[in-house]
Each structure stands twice: as C-alpha cells, then as structure tokens.
C-alpha cells in the first residue's frame, strides 16, 4: 500500500528541480499529480518520466503571478481529478544582485512568483483541501530564516513565505487540515545553477549561506515533502522544517 494512493496533488514548479522531483516521488507513491509551470517543455518531460514509471500526471501551463490563473488552475485540477488533497507551492525564482541594481520589474516579478502566486493559489485550493482534509506544503528557503548578502528581494519573499505559512496555520488550526513549509538550503537545481555572480562580490559575506556541506539534491527535498504531506506527518502543523545541511544552525 502506498502513502498517496487515491490522493490528488497540485504542484507548482513541476518543470524542474524540486517540483519535478516531487511530482515524480508523489506519483511513484500513488498520487495523481496535477502539475503547473510556466515552462511547458520541462513539464512535459516531467510527465514523461512519471508516465514511464506507470504514474499519472496532467500538466497545465500556468503563470502563478496571475490571480486569475491561480484560480483557474485550481479549478482545472478539481475538474480533472475531482479534488485536491495536497497543494505543493514549489515554484520560485531567484537571482543575485547588489541592492542598487534591483529594478522595479525584477522586484515585482520575484514577489509575483514567490509570494503573491503562492498566496492566491493557496486561496483557490483551500476550500478543496478543507473538503478532503488534506494539507499544504510551501517551499521556503534558508533565505527566509537568515540574512543573505546580494539576495535581498529573494530573502524578503522567502521570509514572507515563512510567516505566511505560520499565519495560515494559525487561521486554520481548528480545522482538520495541515499547513507547513520546508526550508531547503542550496539545492542542485536550475534555480541555483542560473545564479549569475555580479561584479564586486565580497565572498566573505557569502560564506554563511554556502556552508560546509554539499548542496542537497532535489530528490532529498522531495523525500521530505512526501513525508510531511503524508499521513505520517499527522502531528506536524505550522512547522518550518529546515533541510539545509546546517546552514541555519549557526
């Protein structure tokens, strides 16, 4: 018997990295996965991997920066599979900039994807999650818990994810659903690979968030996601779970 037999998982960021690994992991444990991403090609690749292993996945190209699209995507998931048991808010973007370099457009885009999209998809999914007594797992970051030089907008959005998760958990504490976040450290994913290092970087300031251990794999975060989102995590609510090789320990 699989932990996600009969469960429906709505996942953002399903085209790559942690979102892709989580789609593959949950499908392998019996879930029907409704994947969202702005990257159609990457998501089809995820679906092919899921399908090759005998799993079930539907893709919907979705820009979660649009409130309308968030609501349409949640409705499409319910239309396709009949409900939502697990919402995984995984999509996120990051970049490295000196503060003086950050443009309004960059700030808005990061806020739209990392924070606003997460909130409005959650708003759209909540009635369905309440109906099936399911749960939500948000992906925060060590950047939501520690100050990191040269990633101020990213830290701001991830700090927002941390406290949004706790506030949602309190609002729904008397109802039979669970809301948690995972705070990964550096992960071997495109989000990290695509960091362009700016000139005049003081690497001494970056040491605390590089740490001493290897980056995590996307599959490790997916394994933690599967634990927290399964019934094995029944007692875990309102938690921010750090999985970062010790980055936030000091």
């Amino acid at each position: 018997m699989n932990r996600f037999d009969g469960k429906i998982a709505l996942l953002t960021g399903a085209a790559s990295g942690v979102g892709k690994a989580t789609a593959i992991r949950l499908a392998s444990e019996g879930a029907k996965v409704f994947g969202l991403d702005i990257n159609a090609e990457g998501m089809e690749d995820t679906k092919a991997t899921v399908g090759a292993a005998g799993g079930e996945m539907t893709c919907r190209v979705t820009d979660i920066g649009s409130v309308e699209e968030c609501h349409a995507a949640a409705a499409a998931c319910v239309e396709t599979y009949g409900g939502i048991d697990v919402l995984g808010n995984i999509a996120g973007i990051a970049n490295q900039r000196h503060v003086h370099q950050v443009t309004e457009a960059e700030w808005d885009l990061m806020n739209n994807v990392n924070l606003k999209g997460m909130f409005f998809l959650t708003q759209a999914a909540l009635p369905h999650i309440l109906e099936r007594e399911g749960n939500i797992v948000n992906i925060a970051s060590n950047a939501g818990l520690m100050g990191q030089a040269y990633t101020v907008p990213y830290c701001a959005t991830k700090g927002g994810v941390v406290n949004m998760t706790k506030a949602l958990a309190m609002e729904f504490v008397k109802q039979p659903i669970r809301i948690n976040a995972i705070a990964p450290g550096g992960i071997d994913t495109p989000l990290v690979h695509n960091f362009e290092l700016q000139a005049d970087i003081d690497f001494a300031l970056m040491q605390p968030y590089i740490g001493f251990r290897d980056a995590s794999t996307a599959e490790q975060i997916a394994g933690l996601f599967a634990f927290v989102a399964s019934d094995e995590g029944a007692n875990i609510h309102g938690s921010i779970i750090s999985a970062d090789g010790g980055l936030t320990t000091s």
């Binding site: 990964p184 740490g211 001493f212 933690l224 609510h237 779970i241 090789g245 010790g246 000091s250």
Partner: protein
C-alpha cells in the same frame, strides 16, 4: 527491505511513550535496538513486545536492553560501550529519556531542579559524548528530543523549559562542531503528546489556566507513534541533507 536493515540504534527512554514507540518502529523497519531506561519493568515490556513472535507492530524484531540511569555520566559511557560490545557498532543514538513536572516557581527545590537537569541535559549530553566516536565510525546520526518548551515560555514549567532550551542549543552547537564530518545531529521538538509524562502532571490548586492556553493549543495531544514516524524518517538515509535542524512536530503550538 527495511530502512534500518543492518543498523544498530541506541535509544533512551524506551520503557514508555515516544521512546517505546520509536523502539517498536525502528525494529519494525529492520533495525537492531539497544534500549535503555531506568524503569526495568517498562523496558522489559517494550522488549517483550518486540521479541514476541506475534503479529503486533515491531514483532519479530531485535532488541537488547540495559537498565541505565543516564543522570550518571559513567553509566552513559558504560551503556554505549555495552551496545558496541554486544552489537559491534552504533549507527543512531536517540535521546528520548526525560522527566517533567509542573510547579509554581516558589515551590521548586534545589534538588528537584538539579534532578531535572541531570536527566534532561546531563544525560543527553553525556550520551552524545559517549556515542560520538561510534557514530563517526558508522557515519550515522544523533536525534535528540527537545520540546515546544524549548522555544516558547511556558508558565509553571521554568525548569523544564530551561532543560529543553538547553537540549535545542546543545544540538545546534554539536551540529556546528561536526559540520565538516559525515554525521548528522538534529532534534525533534514535539508538542504535548499522549504519554505518561503528560498524564502524570499534577497541577497546583492556584494554577491560572489563562497562562497555559498557548501551550495547550487547539488540536489536543499528538500520538507517540507520530513522533516515532518522524524519528524514523529523520534518522534514516532519507534525511541525508538534514543537519542541525530542530523539527517542530506540535500540532501548531509554535506557529504563533
């Protein structure tokens, strides 16, 4: 195939509650359990459940036991030595043993304060110290049991809060000291759990329940099996990137 096949897991507090549930869980996943407690009778009952050939959880598993008073640091060292002498290795140490009680601060005696620190803090630290060379040799890990009391102020529980804050901080400090070595050190911070510890609280006549509301929460107690499931995940290779974390499993107590 179990996640703990071939692994030796030393656990304190195995006579009851989360320690017992975790011993059963680890045995059910193929682990060899070295179980410790000061309560010989409860320890024997846990062992009997595991070695029973019947159909219960963990049945048919492997456990050896040692009655151990972890407040005595020489006992910690002797117990770990016996574990390694008996089973040849030590992969995981789980520090579950702890005591708690509620008192108005004016009523706490020095001897009561010292005893709680001796078990909850001294015992946890000196078990870690004794186990570390073997955990390093096995590239294993340590999981300490902290509490929501480690991060929230709780009325009538000042000594307990102080000991659990100490457990959280010694966990973080050990994690930093060993961050360059291939072992992991983490803690679980449970909220109120349906165990003998919580059943045995005696409340003073003048207890102000308003002050206790934050620590009671809205969802009731967790089950020891929930903590055992998290322990089994965290101490397994599935959690290879989790190090220096204090993981709250408390039904939302620490979210506000």
């Amino acid at each position: 195939m179990g996640r703990y096949d071939g692994k030796v897991v030393a656990l304190t507090g195995v006579a009851s509650g989360m320690g017992r549930a975790s011993a059963i869980r680890i045995a059910s996943e193929g682990g060899t359990v070295f179980g410790m407690d000061i309560n010989a009778e409860g320890l024997a009952a846990t062992a009997a459940q595991i070695t029973d050939a019947g159909a219960g959880a963990g049945a048919g598993g492997t456990i050896t036991t040692r009655v151990t008073d972890i407040s005595d640091h020489t006992e910690c060292a002797a117990a770990i030595q016996e574990c390694v002498d008996t089973h040849g290795r030590l992969d995981v140490l789980g520090n579950f043993a702890a005591i708690s009680w509620m008192r108005n601060t004016p009523d706490v005696t020095f001897e009561e304060w010292r005893r709680m620190f001796a078990i909850n803090v001294d015992g946890t630290y000196f078990m870690c110290q004794a186990a570390l060379p073997h955990v390093l040799a096995a590239e294993g890990n340590i999981v300490n049991i902290a509490s929501n009391a480690a991060s929230m102020g709780q009325a009538y529980l000042a000594p307990y809060c102080a000991t659990k804050g100490a457990v959280a901080q010694l966990t973080r400090a050990l994690a930093m000291e060993y961050v360059k070595q291939p072992i992991r050190i983490n803690a679980i911070a449970p909220g109120g759990t349906d165990t003998a510890m919580n059943a045995n609280y005696e409340l003073a006549a003048d207890t102000d329940f308003d002050l206790m509301q934050a620590a009671m929460g809205h969802r009731g107690f967790g089950q020891p099996e929930d903590i055992a499931a998290l322990f089994a995940f965290l101490a397994s290779d599935d959690a290879g990137n989790i190090h220096g974390s204090i993981i709250n499993s408390d039904n939302g107590l620490t979210a506000s």
